[in-house]
Symmetry: C2
Subunit: 404 residues, 2 copies
């Protein structure tokens, strides 16, 4: 969805070229700004930019790079200002989750601390849905839809073969320390007793005996058991379920191993035949089954970021606000970036069933609208057509490079 937001930013900037001029995209996020690798978005056609609305991944590249604190190291910030000055950059739009909000906040602080005028606006995007103040984060709705759909489909498969084969299926999902994505698996259940029968949340300390008892009870009652488990699930002492159990032949820790670890526990305690799936990046990039609501919101927060900048805003994150009305309705607002950065919004306890293994009606009411609507990409030769950008770099103006 980060590309849909980019489309919202670029198309709105194009409409306001008289005020904004040319929009550059940092190649690989803030690293592009630091290295003066700036992509000239004006070289891309209108149809390419429109096609970003249905393109997975991050079209201009992304990064995992945490800027140092402004008071510990001014070198990075001086470099940024050099680049901004050299290219006459006055608006800074940054798209991502908690770490990106932190980067955006730090950039906004340049203005005050270092006397360079820059308006920095954060555009929310994280499949983890763990940004505070916003009702939801673009990217989440589509992953939620993918997980709900996949859980439903795989459950039908297990149900049909459980009598003489696999009895337990575990789907491991992303979400880091927040159980939002795992909770979305719960939407696969349309009637009471429907799979998934167990959701393992990071918010609920894992107790092996309780888990095994629930699996056994479910298999006895239903003939099979479907589990959705969050990668961040952990024991009461904070140790990850996936953390310490598995080592490969080279002695390396195996990462992302909640599903195989839970499967082993079941096999060991109950002897059931199991299967597990690890959707990993498939869930994050599954544009082919996106939520229409999510796509609309992703575009809208990009558009609003530009409009808010033109109205003089800085150091804010655009937020999605849910109306109090019973029928789902959303509008856009903003939150102070100082309050946003480095806060993780986890699932409230009221969204998790008393036994800790499922979602409540409250959670369902929150989640359901976010996966509504389908927004299919165009297909050619049997696969989705995603745009190929030219990514033409702006000529460098600075004599020196940057070493991170």
């Amino acid at each position: 969805m980060i590309n849909a937001s980019a489309a919202g930013v670029i198309e709105t900037c194009r409409k306001n070229r008289d005020k904004i001029g040319t929009l550059y995209a940092g190649q690989n996020g803030i690293l592009g700004a630091l290295h003066e690798n700036l992509i000239d978005t004006s070289k891309e056609t209108a149809s390419t930019i429109a096609a970003l609305k249905h393109c997975p991944g991050g079209a201009f590249g992304s990064c995992r790079y945490k800027m140092k604190d402004i008071k510990d190291s001014t070198a990075e910030y001086e470099r940024l200002i050099e680049v901004f000055k050299a290219h006459n950059i006055g608006y800074f739009f940054y798209n991502g989750g908690g770490d990106s909000a932190d980067t955006c906040l730090k950039v906004s602080q340049i203005s005050a601390k270092m006397g360079y005028p820059i308006q920095a606006i954060h555009i929310p995007k994280t499949i983890d849905n763990d940004l505070p103040f916003t009702d939801c984060s673009p990217g989440f709705g589509s992953v939620a839809k993918y997980i709900a759909v996949s859980t439903k489909e795989a459950s039908l498969d297990i149900a049909s073969m459980a009598a003489s084969s696999t009895k337990i299926f575990i789907l491991e999902v992303m979400g880091r320390h927040a159980g939002w994505i795992a909770a979305a698996g719960g939407l696969a259940a349309e009637e009471a007793g429907d799979p998934p029968h167990i959701i393992v949340f990071p918010e609920i300390p894992f107790v092996r005996e309780q888990f095994i008892a629930k699996v056994e009870e479910t298999v006895k009652e239903k003939g099979y058991c479907v589990v959705v488990a969050s990668e961040g699930a952990s024991y009461a002492d904070g140790a990850l379920i996936s953390g310490s159990l598995n080592k490969d032949a080279f002695g390396h820790q195996q990462l992302g191993g909640v599903a195989p670890t839970l499967a082993s526990m079941v096999k060991h305690s109950l002897g059931y035949k199991y299967h597990y799936a690890l959707a990993d990046y498939l869930q994050r990039s599954a544009r082919h089954v996106a939520s229409k609501t999510d796509v609309e919101q992703a575009y809208a927060v990009g558009l609003a970021a530009v409009e808010k900048a033109l109205q003089g805003a800085s150091s804010i994150m655009v937020t999605i606000e849910r109306s109090a009305a019973k029928r789902y309705n959303w509008s856009l607002g903003e939150a102070d970036l100082v309050k946003v950065a480095n806060v993780e919004k986890k699932m409230p306890r009221s969204f998790i069933r008393k036994d800790g293994f499922g979602i409540t009606k409250k959670a369902r009411d929150y989640l359901q609208p976010l996966i509504m609507g389908e927004d299919y990409p165009p297909y050619k030769n049997g696969i989705p057509q995603y745009p190929r950008l030219k990514k033409i770099l702006v000529e460098k103006k600075l004599a020196t490079g940057f070493t991170d």
Copy 2:
């Protein structure tokens, strides 16, 4: 797709009720016949049956059950005849892959060996695409589409983050000893050099040094490397890549571990950050991204099975035949079940690139038509609507049960 074939069988039987009477579905395949657990399909509404065309899993249940050889044990066969006689069953349609073809063949042999008139027709369905004589197997085209689409989407994700994070992504796919599903990952590449950069086939003996060298070369050239690896990939001596390397904390072998094993090799030899996905049952049940061609073929083989039975055929498998014309065109034929049962059709060497790590144009020409067209299920509340069957069992007529 097994449900789409079931719809083809049921709707065609309904049109020929005067000749066929009532169609029963064995609950969990042949086990339902042995246990006299027969679902009366006439109790299902026409719209439910039509909806089977877009429903994953096996609506009447499936089984993993291999019948003994007719000369070793007559008990099973006598029991089958008892059930067939009690319910006046004269036609037997059986849907599945190689093991099911074997079951169907054995049932057809009852007629000759035990003097009970039964026409047994096999309907091909296996995502592994390893049935002989038929150009392809229903089920495969949709899994192929899912793998091609998922590979393309995940590749865009990796491409955007490789500069400062994950450099290698491995998608483990099904297919047992045949590389058809892995080959389908190759359809994600639209231009030369596009990901996936490496496909690990079960047909090509795995050589660790060659694999590592190819990964290193790809990352140096492209900045990242996407691998599609078949669960059945093995070394020259036949040992599975996934076989012996990983054990969990309880000392159990980890199954389905090609992706983590390859990832560990890369980490150990090259130090790259990796991610891997294990689609497992998600790929087999992903009805939300089915191939229209596959759905049409699945329905057609079901329909043809009934028509062929009415024309007096027995002990055959319905086949899909590709015309020699350049433009893809298919029709239906049949193959002798004796020749079909227990033969696995693997990827021909001419479909695999000389270096063993990719598909040839010949493979692409074969695969491409099978993933053509989209056939979306209807959605409600953000998830696909799959039918719920009544599955009303026919009253048992036999005094005794069956113990397998």
